[in-house]
């Protein structure tokens, strides 16, 4: 590449002198350089005409190197972006005009939820069949046993498992105060959207002061949806 460096004027003065001294003594290098120089001379003469004769679109992208485009930016072109924004506006409009008001109404207004009595499986009860519908959901009573002789817990953990055995909900309630006597009832409200036909189970665990958890109740019920 010495000839190329020489033609590109990349050699230091000393290196250029040394190369020239060799060049005049080496017919092969001399021929190489002469060919390179002749090509450069002729290219300089022809390039303006060639560049001018090329079609405009071909030249337009060649004055500067092509910038590598980010394909993700293509999605911002109007052809894609306009329909996407229109669809987004429709979704936002529907949510603001229909969905959110309905949810707000549901959250702020009293509603009836069927209460399903449960029997503790650990107390020898069989599965209980519960009927419910997706519109109202269902409220499951959960008893926190506070009978004498049971260890003191600082809180209780309630875990709900769906028919596939997956944990669907986990909640913690603080233990009742010192003067509490007897089982403390709670309601576990399950919205209709979460309900599936099948066997649900609820595990009630007591959490000791040092963090140890002990399952003290397990409820199982077979849910039968009516809609």
């Amino acid at each position: 590449m010495a000839a190329e460096r020489y033609l590109l004027d990349e050699l230091t003065p000393d290196a250029r002198e040394a190369f020239e001294e060799h060049l005049f003594d080496c017919p092969e290098c001399a021929l190489d350089l002469r060919a390179g120089a002749a090509f450069v001379d002729e290219a300089k003469a022809q390039l303006p005409e060639i560049m001018a004769s090329l079609p405009a679109p071909a030249r337009a992208g060649t004055g500067r190197p092509k910038v590598k485009r980010n394909h993700w930016l293509a999605w911002w072109r109007p052809a894609f972006a306009a329909p996407a924004f229109a669809a987004l506006l429709i979704v936002l409009g529907y949510q603001n005009l229909v969905t959110f008001p309905a949810l707000r109404t549901a959250a702020n207004q009293p509603r009836l939820v069927p209460l399903a009595p449960l029997h503790g499986a650990t107390r020898g009860a069989a599965h209980l069949t519960v009927t419910a519908d997706r519109k109202h959901g269902v409220a499951l009573p959960v008893d926190l046993p506070l009978e004498p002789g049971i260890a003191n817990y600082i809180s209780y953990s309630i875990d709900l498992y769906d028919p596939q055995g997956r944990l669907a909900f986990a909640g913690v309630v603080a233990a009742p105060g010192e003067g509490a006597r007897g089982d403390q009832p709670f309601s576990l409200v399950i919205p209709g959207a979460m309900l599936r036909n099948g066997a649900y189970s609820v595990a009630v665990s007591g959490v000791a002061p040092h963090g140890e958890r002990t399952v003290i109740e397990r409820y199982v019920y077979d849910l039968l949806l009516t809609d």
Binding site: L8, L23, V40, L47, M51
Partner: protein, 195 residues
């Protein structure tokens, strides 16, 4: 006679005034001197002056008794003489700017025979073919470097290439061109010269 390198026989023929040897000597070194001098001198007049003065001094030394001690170093000797002439040229032009002045009329081109014209045309066509085969970007790169004479580093940055890319681009173009060049012009080189 096939020139494989410069030797005592070549120098002897040159000093004896052998026409073909002299033509080869002038043709071969003119090409090299022009490449060398054009990066140092702006004016074609100055280049021509230095070239002719170099040849005159070389031939004068060769014809003296004793001549050139190492005939195989004839090329290096020509280069050394050229450097001396060039140095004198610099000193001379800095005093009077007589030879390297801008604006002086160019010397008319010497007449060319039909073979030269054909060879020149074929070389033009070959260069055109090579240039058209290049990508548009590579053509623009060559134009920016050689025609527009822009700063190499700036051009490389703009085109997103490094200096090595530029060298390789030139090397490939030169190699492709060289075969045609040797076929048309290369017989002036000692390796393939017939005298």
């Amino acid at each position: 006679m096939q020139f494989h390198s410069f030797d005592a026989g070549y120098v002897q023929s040159l000093c004896a005034g052998d026409r073909r040897t002299q033509e080869h000597f002038v043709g071969y070194f003119t090409a090299l001197l022009q490449v060398k001098l054009r990066s140092r001198l702006q004016s074609l007049h100055a280049i021509e002056d230095v070239r002719q003065e170099t040849f005159a001094r070389v031939l004068t030394v060769l014809r003296k008794d004793g001549g050139l001690r190492q005939p195989e170093r004839l090329g290096a000797f020509v280069n050394t003489v050229c450097n001396h002439v060039l140095f004198e040229q610099y000193r001379s032009s800095s005093r009077s700017e007589s030879l390297d002045a801008e604006g002086r009329p160019e010397l008319p081109a010497l007449g060319a025979d039909a073979l030269d014209i054909v060879a020149a045309r074929q070389i033009k066509e070959k260069v055109r073919e090579i240039l058209l085969d290049l990508s548009p970007r590579d053509r623009s790169l060559l134009k920016a470097v050689f025609l527009d004479e822009r700063d190499r580093d700036e051009v490389c940055r703009e085109f997103g290439v490094d200096r090595q890319y530029l060298r390789v681009l030139l090397h490939r173009a030169k190699q492709e061109f060289k075969a045609e060049y040797v076929k048309r012009i290369g017989n002036q080189a000692p390796l393939a010269a017939n005298a």
